[in-house]
């Protein structure tokens, strides 16, 4: 199962206007890992993600997916194994109906019609969107669009799922549904997100990017306990690690509340 491994070595990217987006990034993500890439706006998260399936070409350094180094020649293989879910589902759903959109990838893989149908049905069932199959994308709600966007990628049977801000713009219920859905996937998963509570629930490992460089790479719970590190990277502890908001307020106002009261 070595093709589930994602490895970046000394990755460097400079945009044509001279902006240095990422500098000397190296990491290795192994089979079945669930990893969050977090950081402030402009830290280089999206740029990094776009390197993972060759949407952007590195200025220097290399990406390896399993045993394959990403080059122009290996792009089709890499794109088959790295499924990318974009932040805005409207960019992802470009076909006239849901079923055609989900079938788009498998058809490009050259599968026969019956296999395509099977894959489409399975992928839509996995995300609980079977009933949406004949709808046009502009008739879907935000949460539905997101799930269908994930199905379009699942239909290609990728080994690695890369998702840019999966929970952005979702209502709490749709967010919860999505988190539960993602938790059950056995793929190697890489997310970027500002939803650190989701990161805490889904990712055992976190990589923090700051000014285009890796500032921390380790267990999520440990990283989220490091207040100084989080503050330096313009991040905040997830709400679920901040304790009861009522008690916090009282602690600030009344110093004499006994210590054991706090969570």
């Amino acid at each position: 199962m070595s093709h589930h491994i994602v490895e970046a070595k000394n990755l460097h990217h400079v945009y044509p206007d001279g902006t240095i987006a990422i500098k000397d990034i190296s990491f290795r993500i192994t089979h079945g890992e669930s990893v969050a890439i977090i950081g402030a706006n402009g830290a280089g998260k999206s740029t990094l993600l776009q390197h993972l399936n060759g949407c952007l070409e590195a200025t220097s350094g290399q990406i390896r997916i399993g045993d394959t180094t990403l080059t122009k020649g290996t792009l089709p293989i890499i794109r088959r194994s790295v499924g990318m879910v974009f932040q805005n589902p409207d960019d992802q759903l470009f076909m006239p109906t849901v079923i055609e959109d989900v079938a788009f990838g498998p058809l490009n893989l050259g599968l026969c019609s019956s296999d395509v149908d099977l894959r489409v049905t399975e992928a839509l069932a996995q995300v609980g969107a079977g009933h949406l199959r004949s709808k046009p994308p502009y008739h879907l709600s935000g949460g539905e669009k997101k799930r269908v966007a994930i199905a379009t990628v699942l239909a290609m049977s990728p080994d690695i799922l890369v998702m840019d801000e999966p929970t952005s713009g979702l209502d709490p219920y749709a967010r919860r549904q999505l988190i539960d859905l993602l938790r059950n996937f056995r793929h190697t998963k890489i997310f970027t997100s500002h939803d650190l509570d989701m990161v805490l629930e889904l990712c055992s490992r976190t990589i923090i990017l700051h000014d285009g460089m890796v500032l921390a790479d380790g267990a999520t719970t440990e990283i989220f306990r490091d207040d100084a590190l989080l503050a330096k990277c313009r991040l905040e502890k997830p709400l679920s690690m901040q304790g009861c908001p009522v008690c916090n307020r009282e602690r600030n106002a009344q110093k004499d509340i006994p210590e054991e009261h706090f969570h």
């Binding site: 776009q50 399936n53 949407c55 089709p76 794109r79 088959r80 499924g83 990318m84 974009f86 805005n88 409207d90 960019d91 992802q92 470009f94 076909m95 006239p96 109906t97 079923i99 055609e100 079938a103 788009f104 990838g105 058809l107 490009n108 893989l109 019609s113 395509v116 046009p136 994308p137 502009y138 008739h139 379009t152 990628v153 290609m156």
Partner: protein, 290 residues
Amino acid sequence: MIIFSFVLQNRLSFNDPASAFESDMKSITAAVSELKQLEQFADGTSAIHGLDARAKVLVTFVFIVTVVSFNRYELTGLLPFFAFPAAMVLLAGLPPFYLLRKIALICPFVLMVGIFNPVFDRTVMHHIGQVGISGGWISLASLLIRSCLTVGAAIILVGTTGFTLVCYAFERLGVPHLFAVQLLFLHRYIFVLADETGRAARARELRSCGAKGLGITSFASLAGHLLLRTWQRAEHIHTAMLARGFDGRFHAHRQSRLGLSELAFVVVWSAFFIILRMHNFGVFNAGIAP
């Protein structure tokens, strides 16, 4: 995009600032929701809906060609052609008033095209009592009837088939692939672009504080931004397509075939149109043709 730029420009030059905001949003949103509504009619289950899209495209094509090919002074010869839209509306269960409203929308544009006919073409061709009717008025009326027929047929085609299937039919009938794909994408993203245009127009209105904003200057920059955003979106979509193995070719997933009912539909209607064209059943026209 052109339509929406037009709508936007139209709305931005609105003089009454208090109602401008509401009208802005209404016109753009209404245009989009009407388009969506037309698409929803295509979900029907009538026999007409069930026909292969190619048959309907072909019949509509023959209809439009025969209607357009009449001479410019033709009036009564065109009237029997109303049988086609009427039959389609009845058989497919489309709402006639909705269609009439849609057709009425294009009348001002047609009038604009033909408005000088009566001025330049003053040859009297017919008399009603003592009043002489010039060729210009007759050709203007003919133009209006033809526009109603052809636009009506096109709307009925989309309303019974759906824009997407019409595009696929175009492709399978030999229209260049690039053109069909272009139409498909236009249709997919017109809703997204309309939303974006609506939001940009609203943002501009809200910060104009009741005045007309910076007039054409701010409109130019707004349109420029929309263009850049469209460009950026096109790049995102292309990336998303490449990420799913796109190699420049679209693979058809839908399978449909031309059966006996499609053949009968095409042959009967085409024959009907051609017979109407060859043997002019018009009576009024016979006496006044030059």
